[in-house]
Symmetry: C2
Subunit: 459 residues, 2 copies
């Protein structure tokens, strides 16, 4: 089997399954009750909290269980912002945070707050300096992921935490992608995570708020989870989450070496196996199990279907996948190609043969999609004075780039191609194509319909 | 075994366990993904939604799964209020709603909204007329439980829904206690429920919003569950919740008759077995498995411990239980005795022998607690002119009532007893004792310390 989408959700770890089944009999009662079933549930909850706090490296009274990682992020951001409302209403996030962080930032902005998005480099990483520059007197909170969920790039969390600490600003770290691998280094103030990313069950998130951090939980609360997560505790799932976190941690050091070697194979060999590929994300400072690449002239959704038929489950940040029509905000912020994007994220225990088999089927899958898409451009091309105009209006990624690539040879060196497109992905993919192909991206301008992208032939 | 606290949380139904275990292998992936594991998860989620919608009696696109019943209530109330913000910011709730409803109402009030609490009669029921009177031009939403969680009294939901519908006001029904027994009748607009109350797993709530009801989900959202419940779906638990709802419904008609007969035994026999008991809640319009009574001169927490030692797990709305120092808001709103309060809520499948055994151990447990508490009053009693003053300052429920009962015989018929108390429960329990004992409750007045409660001896 080739389930290579652990960054979305990992299969349930055997330890999680055992713990869940065992605690279904013991953990269903209300832990606030005084009778035996309630006391048993309370003991399970307390033990799970101790195990999770040990794994995070925090005090037990700093950690609460939420109903998901998303809920932990939403609660953490809202509570930290409210706790420091007197200081100001400025929030800092990186441009490549998980969408749940960006949604919370949108809500804050809609509510009158201000948000600074810190840009990333082409590898997807922020710099400490950029976070330092973003800090203001009215900054209530800064957020930074420990590692990126789409390209695997690790962020300089400890250094950013240091800069924030100096400025007296709490840093919330979204550790969803990395907590299974190890503790988050540095002097952070809040931390969030999600159990189903490390092989725990769905329905459990962690929110850690360090002692001394001002925090005012928002919305209706009750007496559960220190008033930070209302609603009946899901104890069997919490027990399974804590047990599996401990289990994956015990294997983490060894498994990280193994998976890093496997993703390194993909990083190294894909460019040789598939023409016109860009491997994205930091080659060194990255999660062990994640590797992402984009294939020119390929429709991401069709490629996913081809790979699925060949037995491999991967995800894509291309614009033409799932229900979304815009390319992934992560790839956009990095300024890399989004078309034909594939993220491979290996779950714990992935067999080397499965990776080898993936490398076998990938070239054919990509070639097949390219063949299907190799439509003639013909009638859509018009020569206006010294400019070649390609009308790609109404055509979706990757067609505009394919049409550009087909005609670039028809203009003389120094000549211009003008691509008309109303597909949002073109804004990202045409400049990325120019960079990959050594052509000059001149810029964009509004057209009668859609946008015109100007490219000068260099070579 | 005598777990008699199903209204808090029911043990996992065997069907829920089977469904959970079966779907752990199939339901862990992201249902938004296009590959096989994602499609399988999506199919499970869709099937569970169909089953749940069928049980509720709504369209599948009206029902979303939340992370708990509490979360469903919070989301439902906030969304419905926001959706009708132009109409006004008035919210109606009954005085005996679950605390999660009252917490949402508090939040609304703190945010500048207005709230009307509709009073209940001594049986715990609201009247349609009272809801009708509470409706205003600026009423955005009304909330009413289908049945009370502490005393089992059923509310006239269909009739209240009718009055609300006429006024153009949506009614949100908290069906947490009744959904396992059957659909909620009437033309309600929103409905909430909680799976662990019917034997489903923790971590699953239902929120139903009828088509045409104005609804604006608050806070950060994502694309999951129609934008009404952010965060990764907990599909194995959702599957188990839906499967167990179907299963308990199949047994509901038969089991309702059986449990009603068992609770009827308790209702009928407890007053004969235990002196000075008040059985509370509607004797006819009530949930099949719930019966609640209060024992004079008994400390609720100590009684719970005694019953726990005898093998029975029940809960209590007394002031002296768990972490709370005020009596249950439900008993308070009903104006009934709160001391020595016991709620028996029988889970599906409760054996008749267990109920018989409970009726055997109860009298001894109550007598034991009363014996321990039979403290002399002596030095705390002072005769001032024609009034006997009992100083119960610093003494907690049920001591003030015990001291009152001990001295009432020492004043002549027509004479007054003045009980000084700083225990919040006295405000409820002294009038309730007067009613039970046929003495006249004259009223309360502020004292130098605490409050003075005046009682006139009638007989």
């Amino acid at each position: 089997m080739g389930y290579f989408d652990a960054a979305s959700s990992a299969p349930l770890h055997p330890v999680a399954r055992q713990a869940l089944q065992a605690s279904l009999d013991e953990g269903w009662a209300d832990p606030a009750r005084l009778y035996r079933e309630g006391r048993r549930a309370r003991m399970l909850l307390d033990a799970a909290r101790e195990a999770a706090a040990e794994a995070v490296g925090c005090r037990t009274d700093e950690l609460v269980f939420t109903s998901s990682g998303t809920k932990a992020v939403h609660t953490g951001i809202a509570g930290a912002l409210a706790g420091r409302r007197r200081v100001g209403r400025h929030l800092i996030v990186s441009a490549v945070e998980h969408s749940c962080v960006l949604h919370a930032a949108d809500t804050h902005e809609a509510d009158g707050g201000t948000v600074t998005q810190v840009a990333v480099d082409r590898a997807g990483a922020v710099t400490v300096e950029a976070y330092g520059r973003a800090l203001r007197d009215d900054t209530a909170l800064a957020c930074l992921q420990s590692a990126n969920h789409e390209v695997g790039t690790e962020q300089p969390v400890a250094e950013v935490a240091g800069v924030c600490r100096e400025a007296g600003v709490p840093l919330l770290v979204d550790a969803a992608q990395s907590l299974g691998w190890g503790r988050v280094a540095g002097d952070w103030s809040l931390l969030t995570a999600s159990a189903h990313k490390w092989g725990g069950p769905s329905g459990v998130g962690l929110l850690v708020v360090r002692k001394g951090v001002r925090f005012a939980a928002q919305g209706p609360a009750d007496e559960r989870e220190s008033g930070r997560a209302a609603g009946f505790e899901n104890i069997p799932a919490i027990v399974a989450a804590a047990a599996s976190l401990r289990a994956v941690r015990a294997e983490a050091a060894q498994e990280a070496v193994r998976l890093r070697e496997l993703t390194e194979r993909i990083r190294a060999r894909v460019p040789g196996l598939v023409p016109d590929v860009e491997v994205v994300g930091d080659p060194v400072r990255r999660l062990p199990g994640v590797v992402t690449f984009s294939c020119l002239y390929v429709d991401g959704e069709t490629l996913l279907h081809e790979l699925d038929r060949a037995g491999f489950s991967v995800s894509s940040g291309s614009s033409c996948t799932s229900s979304t029509l815009t390319p992934s905000h992560v790839l956009k912020a990095m300024g890399v190609l989004s078309e034909g994007n594939v993220r491979v994220s290996l779950p714990f225990g992935t067999a080397a043969e499965d990776v080898e088999r993936f490398l076998e089927v990938l070239p054919e899958a990509v070639a097949g999609v390219r063949e299907k898409l190799g439509a003639p451009v013909g009638e859509a091309v018009v020569r206006e004075e010294d400019v070649l105009v390609v009308d790609s209006l109404g055509k979706r990624c990757p067609i505009p780039v394919i049409e550009l690539a087909k005609v670039i040879g028809e203009v003389p060196v120094g000549g211009l191609v003008r691509v008309l497109s109303d597909d949002e992905a073109a804004r990202l993919d045409i400049p990325a194509w120019c960079e990959m192909r050594g052509q000059e991206y001149v810029g964009e301008e509004p057209a009668e319909q859609g946008t015109a992208y100007l490219v000068r032939r260099i070579g």
